[in-house]
Symmetry: C2
Subunit: 340 residues, 2 copies
């Protein structure tokens, strides 16, 4: 199976290195698209076509296109074009999916191709598979999760060092865990996009990004962290969703929340992600894993690529999505306390 | 898709109720085999054929046979026969798999049918999928897990009440969490069988049950639990496996272990299962969920049935298994401390 990668940044290069590694049979990295391909060319990847022309990817014989350029456009259009040209697509792009999951999954299905996106939520934490495959035999009723590795790093670093938010952000940048502008991480819009993807696979609903109330961690001070700590708590950016299918009522928000120090979600450190999934029949299941970093995300991408290589004709049905009739935000603290 | 169920005990009846529930489209429970079928017949399941003759199942038009009779034989032979007669099989039977995973998965593959067994390990905790699908793009190097819900219940009940082991076992029986003879749970052979299945999917190795060192929790007293508690520890039955692929060296054992009270595996309560999976590239991932009980196991079975119904022609490759050259048991406590 020939593989093309769109985007040669932290994640794209980590994936390319894994694909070039001889221990993975039957996969061959043949094309890399990057706007700055001439500057990024890496001889260690061997006989790969480097291009700045995305059309060269669409026209190639790659069976799978891995999209890791990020952002809504042109990524969304390129995913669609790759599917239209008969390729299956693996993506880590939560923004493109948050703005087009229904359209893209339906289109993939119509094309008889696969669109897989484990890497878009939770890095190596296998939350998309857990919900869409493992809990297919149940009804998911709620999700409470830590979905942004950058804010987990910043908040746990503030706890450990007593540093200010800005100093902790600098430390995250130094380690490659934060963009130069981490606004999307801090203000919750990154986690919101991921929550929208989980709402689609867990509840079968289609929510727009603007419907999800988000509160930033921007205003948190070292004093807030210390004060929480004194009462046995830590602060985490929590993404929460609960759905009542009968009323088609969704409660969903992303916000900093004080959690008892030894609760499951509070135990996240560094760039960890964690999720609690409430199910009608099986009770609660929990997952954690590295939620950021090139290597962890590359594992999720590669697992999706391998699933396609193993069974190129596999049927991956598009989730049937309805619009919720009500979307409520962070109305009461008690909701949170129960959920975690 | 027509479904036949072999075995109408706690799990089989929980699954049958879910299948009879009108909210699951495209699945129809058509046959139930049970040795005592005439006594168990339940009119609420509607128009189902109840039989004491397993040949009636093989001759039926069921596309999926769910095997929950348990035990090695005749279950193993019946799984094989169902596959030979063109049916896909979903099983919760760790004993049959521990004694025949290589043969059965290879045979299923040759028949072009699916053999799925998420329910055989960890109940609703999706550990089989996590390892075989989600971590396919990584190399799993270690597993430390709580895999027996009955012993978790017994040990956490002893902690909470100060009761003796025997009294806690009685409490587990009362709640339907322990068999009349819970020897396989207490002595570790149940967890060993599950560990063998995980070793196959995680490391690609074929280990015999007798090669895994097991230590019973039988001798634990209320005083042991109390003494652990005083030093900030709890005792759990841990199933541990680590594999060095280069040396083909496996270290694997099941034993009661003292764990720091707030460590991930120590936090299991009631019938919970939990697992830490160490991976070469993605670091550690963790999972927990209800590991026992009819409803939780039925969810895992039903998710597997739905995967088959969604894509009856899906290719599920048999794991390619080698024999480890060395299998080591519980040699040093330090191994444990690192693993958890």
């Amino acid at each position: 199976m020939n593989i093309a990668v769109l985007g040669y940044g932290t994640v794209g290069s980590a994936l390319a290195r894994r694909l070039a590694d001889s221990t993975i049979p039957n996969l061959r990295l043949t094309h890399i698209f990057d706007r700055r391909a001439p500057l990024k060319r890496d001889a260690r990847l061997g006989d790969v076509v480097w291009t700045t022309d995305v059309e060269e990817i669409f026209a190639s014989d790659a069976g799978v296109v891995v999209e890791v350029i990020g952002g809504v456009d042109p990524a969304r259009e390129w995913i669609r074009t790759a599917l239209a040209r008969g390729k299956s697509v693996v993506t880590a792009n939560k923004q493109a999916l948050a703005h087009g999951l229904r359209d893209l999954t339906t289109f993939a299905c119509r094309q008889g191709r696969q669109l897989r996106f484990e890497a878009a939520v939770g890095g190596a934490m296998p939350i998309v598979r857990a919900i869409s495959d493992a809990m297919a035999g149940d009804r998911v009723t709620s999700i409470s999760a830590v979905l942004n590795g950058t804010t987990t790093f910043v908040l746990s670093h503030m706890e450990e060092t007593g540093l200010s938010l800005d100093a902790a952000i600098d430390a995250a940048r130094t380690r490659g865990y934060a963009e130069s502008d981490p606004a999307a991480d801090l203000d919750g819009s990154d986690a919101s996009a991921k929550l929208i993807i989980l709402c689609a696979v867990a509840f079968g609903i289609d929510v727009t990004l603007s419907a999800i109330e988000t509160r930033s961690i921007r205003e948190l001070t070292a004093r807030d962290i210390l004060s929480a700590r004194r009462s046995g708590h830590v602060i985490r950016q929590i993404a929460s969703a609960a759905y009542d299918a009968r009323l088609r009522a969704l409660t969903a928000w992303v916000a900093p929340v004080e959690l008892p120090r030894d609760s499951f979600l509070a135990r996240t450190r560094g760039v960890e992600n964690a999720a609690l999934v409430g199910c009608q029949h099986a009770g609660e299941i929990g997952l954690f894993g590295h939620g950021a970093g090139g290597d962890a995300t590359a594992v999720a991408l590669l697992s999706d690529v391998l699933a396609i290589a193993r069974d190129p004709a596999a049927l991956v049905p598009a989730p049937v999505l309805v619009r919720p009739s009500i979307v409520t935000g962070l109305t009461a603290r008690t909701v949170v306390e129960e959920a975690v």
